[in-house]
Amino acid sequence: MSLWEVQRFLFELNRATGRGAAFSQAPYRVVAEWDGQLTAREQDLLAACDVVGLYRHGVHGVLLAVTATALGTTPQQVRQELKAAYGLDEKGQPVPNTPVQTAIEEE
């Protein structure tokens, strides 16, 4: 249920005119004022724009990509952060001899 609220926050952030700007100015306040129930951990992930943490939490990768601008980043940056975290290259293949924070197969 909470994951759904996280995704709803991102969905509405992307759609609501002005909310993205407000988020970039004061992310913790915008997250705190959200009408849905978010855990403290989820609030931190959103306010810190921790896309890897959000992805691991279960947020859909496409939603992260389309919301990137509203979060103050770019789809390319989101892509690079996810690839780095999972040790995958531009072809989606494992990068040899690179420490991987979490093996993708474990998730």
């Binding site: 709803r8 969905f11 859909h60 496409v62 990509a65 789809p75 531009e90 989606g92």
Partner: protein, 272 residues
Amino acid sequence: MIVAAIAASHAPFIVGAPEKADPKQAQRFFAGYREAARRLGDAKPDAILIVTAEHFTNFLTVVPPFHIHLGESAFGPVEESLGIEQRHVPNAPHLARELLDAALASGVDMAFGHHLDLDHGSMVPLHLLGVAPHTPVIPLIVNCLIDPMPSYLRCAAVGRALRESLTSMDARIGLVAAGGLSHWPGMPQAGRISPAWDRRVLDRLADGRDVLLDPPEDPDMGPGAEELRAWTIVAEAASVTQAEVLAYEPIIDWSTGCAVVDLMPHGSAMLP
């Protein structure tokens, strides 16, 4: 009547970052799109029915398996990064309503709405197929993104439900199925594609639409392959018996197995 049916990939990089691709691959792929545009233009459609996925542009709190737009127009693309001029794409609400009524009469409880924004899923193919700004476009969204998704058999039923209405219309309708083939959108695996799976689908499609009722599985095809549902709907609507692959390129730098297919290479004489 149905006058053309095209299926094509809609990855945002195709227009947003064309320079990223190998130039020879891009050249061959765009040549396929140009040929499809020529054929679609020669068919002189009065309106386009585009069947496509959407990407959290409209739906999250409610996710319809199938949704047809009844509004006067739809705005797109929402992504400025595509470099496609943002505009209000005119709809053909009366034709859309006919299709909705036909679906309902056939037992397909399709959702409908009066406000819709269009993302790359629609706008990339409309742009590359040269659909004129004044040509009405009826968007039919199929959920290919969020689990659970409609079965391929149900998608086929939607196509069949639309077929009689489309073929009996006085208006000349061009069908466009947008999406696919193998790709991993938004995921760390982005860039992984499966040319073997793509070619298996395309080879079988050349002999008819059965492959779209139960597509083969492949560990590398990725969740983007779910967009084949759009192809299933259009292929069933057009009673496709053979198809002509106009282009296929596994373009890693666009993160997608990219295809352009003419689903009705011999025109409307094939129908029904």
